[in-house]
């Protein structure tokens, strides 16, 4: 029994220490951001790596999610003769929840895991150490551009995901199922609020998720054991931790933004 308690205590302490390290890591990362004013080229390259290269998966997923929303929404609303509200249903689901959450999850799988593996391997092959030996701070040269690029890319990707999703919903409901196009757009325009919905969902939520996803990915890569097993575990942890953190924070943010309590 005592041994079990001690093990639990040890585990909790371990987690706490790790959380502390992650926070110190974030502080150092934020401190290194001003270096990017001198070297904007590094940021642009990373924007391409994490942002532009994530576009295909975001576009395709957004389209399919929107189409499925259109189908499901129609199947349920048609019984009540409320198919005119389909535009609102599709748009609000995407803008408030599915856009930010799914984009963050897809980003963690596509770009977050790649960031962790890249940083972990740079550590395992002594590239980070050799950079430090050349008096170049890896936080400035390697980590800060990736972090800022990721934090910029996630909200933009969320916007694209949401827009493509709404188009997908339009294609299925209006073109295929025959819902009235005018009603689709007019209802959406009347019900979706710029600040309350788009601002909270697409902007604030995705900014928080972007910060979480990139912080976790870079921290896991930087702390990875410098072996092939260590890097593989770190990559897995990135996807699992980001997914859980995004879903947990989504609940908190939704409760704060849209909950009436």
């Amino acid at each position: 029994m005592m041994a079990w308690l001690a093990e639990m205590g040890g585990f909790a302490l371990d987690r706490l220490v790790r959380l502390g390290r992650a926070n110190l890591f974030l502080l150092r990362l934020l401190g290194a951001l001003r270096f990017l004013f001198q070297r904007p080229g590094l940021l642009i390259k990373q924007l391409y790596m994490v942002g532009v290269l994530s576009l295909p998966i975001i576009l395709v997923s957004g389209l399919f999610v929107g189409m499925v929303l259109g189908l499901q929404g129609y199947a349920n609303l048609v019984d009540f003769g409320a198919t005119a509200s389909l535009g609102t249903v599709v748009a609000l689901s995407l803008i408030r929840e599915l856009g930010p959450v799914l984009t963050a999850l897809l980003y963690a799988g596509r770009a977050g895991s790649a960031l962790t593996a890249e940083i972990g391997l740079m550590k395992a092959t002594e590239q980070l150490a050799s950079m430090q030996m050349m008096a170049v701070d890896p936080f400035q040269r390697v980590l800060a551009p990736r972090f800022l690029a990721g934090c910029i890319a996630v909200p933009i990707l969320t916007g694209i995901f949401t827009a493509v999703g709404i188009l997908g919903g339009y294609v299925v409901s209006v073109i295929q199922l025959g819902v009235d196009g005018g009603a689709f757009w007019a209802q959406m325009q009347a019900k979706v609020q710029l600040f309350a919905d788009v601002g909270n969902g697409v902007l604030i939520k995705s900014a928080v998720f972007g910060l979480l996803a990139n912080w976790v990915a870079l921290f896991e890569g930087y702390e990875a054991l410098p072996t092939s097993e260590g890097v593989s575990r770190a990559t897995t942890r990135t996807v699992v931790t980001t997914s859980l953190a995004v879903l947990g924070w989504d609940f908190l943010l939704t409760a704060l933004m849209f909950g009436d309590w």
């Binding site: 430090q132 050349m134 008096a135």
Partner: protein, 264 residues
């Protein structure tokens, strides 16, 4: 150039160094040798300020490395080159860009001058023709020579070599041996080589330190050590399988281990 006094260092509760004293003279090639796992690489990391000692003092060019703030340490490192065992080239940059990296980071030289400097350094290691290649296209020996060109890019005062000969074929080994000595003399460097390749290291070193189990066992010129009376030094320098240095990792007696297995 480098003075180490009373250095003690622990890792995971295991002592690596116990009150070690070393002096590395300026302008010479000094080798630190010892069996694998004696902390030779750790010693280089301590000298370059990547690790902090538990006790003792490490001075490089008159300044105490582990008391420096990060900015001052980085300034000191601009005068220090290090050749990693793996080469540690940046895999996303070409050979040319790898060598240009420290120049681009620390100087504001025009592109034309950077090109001239990089070609000069690459010519010194015989790889001017390989400048367009990516690190993945290089052999181990070539990668190490590119890393060497990168280490001398900022004309440092001192170069630290971590196992420069490990895993090299005889030709690249001979090339590297010659290169380390030539560069040291031509550029007026101070070189510290950490290695367990006795023959190659002895051929170019001016002074040797032998370390084992956290202590300096012996030091002197290659000639002194070659005819040392110490049985340990004799075993190491002449690569004899039998001697005071045990082949086995510390363990309880073999018979008791086997019997313990049988009785369970």
């Amino acid at each position: 150039m480098v003075t180490v006094r009373g250095l003690s260092f622990h890792r995971d509760g295991r002592p690596i160094f116990d009150r070690v004293d070393l002096d590395i003279p300026r302008g010479k090639v000094t080798a630190i040798m010892g069996p694998s796992g004696t902390g030779k690489t750790t010693l280089l990391q301590l000298i370059s300020g990547q690790l902090r000692p538990d006790a003792g003092r490490i001075e490089v060019d008159g300044v105490c490395v582990h008391e420096l703030r990060r900015r001052d340490l980085y300034q000191l490192r601009q005068r220090m080159g290090m050749l990693f065992q793996s080469g540690a080239l940046f895999t996303d940059l070409s050979v040319f860009e790898n060598v240009a990296f420290p120049l681009r980071e620390h100087t504001r030289l025009p592109e034309q001058l950077i090109r001239t400097l990089v070609l000069m350094k690459l010519e010194a290691v015989g790889l001017r023709g390989a400048r367009e290649l990516m690190p993945a296209q290089l052999s181990g020996g070539m990668a190490r020579r590119v890393a060497l060109a990168r280490a001398i890019a900022l004309d440092p005062l001192m170069i630290l070599y971590d196992e420069p000969f490990a895993g090299q074929d005889p030709i690249s080994m001979a090339v590297l041996v010659k290169l380390i000595r030539t560069l040291n003399d031509a550029l007026g460097l101070t070189s510290i080589i950490v290695s367990h390749d006795v023959k190659e290291t002895v051929a170019i070193a001016d002074y040797l330190y032998l370390i084992s189990a956290g202590r300096v066992v012996e030091h002197g010129t290659p000639r002194d050590l070659d005819c040392s009376a110490s049985p340990w030094v004799d075993q190491f320098m002449h690569a004899r399988p039998d001697g005071p240095m045990s082949f086995h990792y510390p363990a309880p007696p073999y018979s008791s281990d086997l019997l313990a297995e049988a009785s369970t």
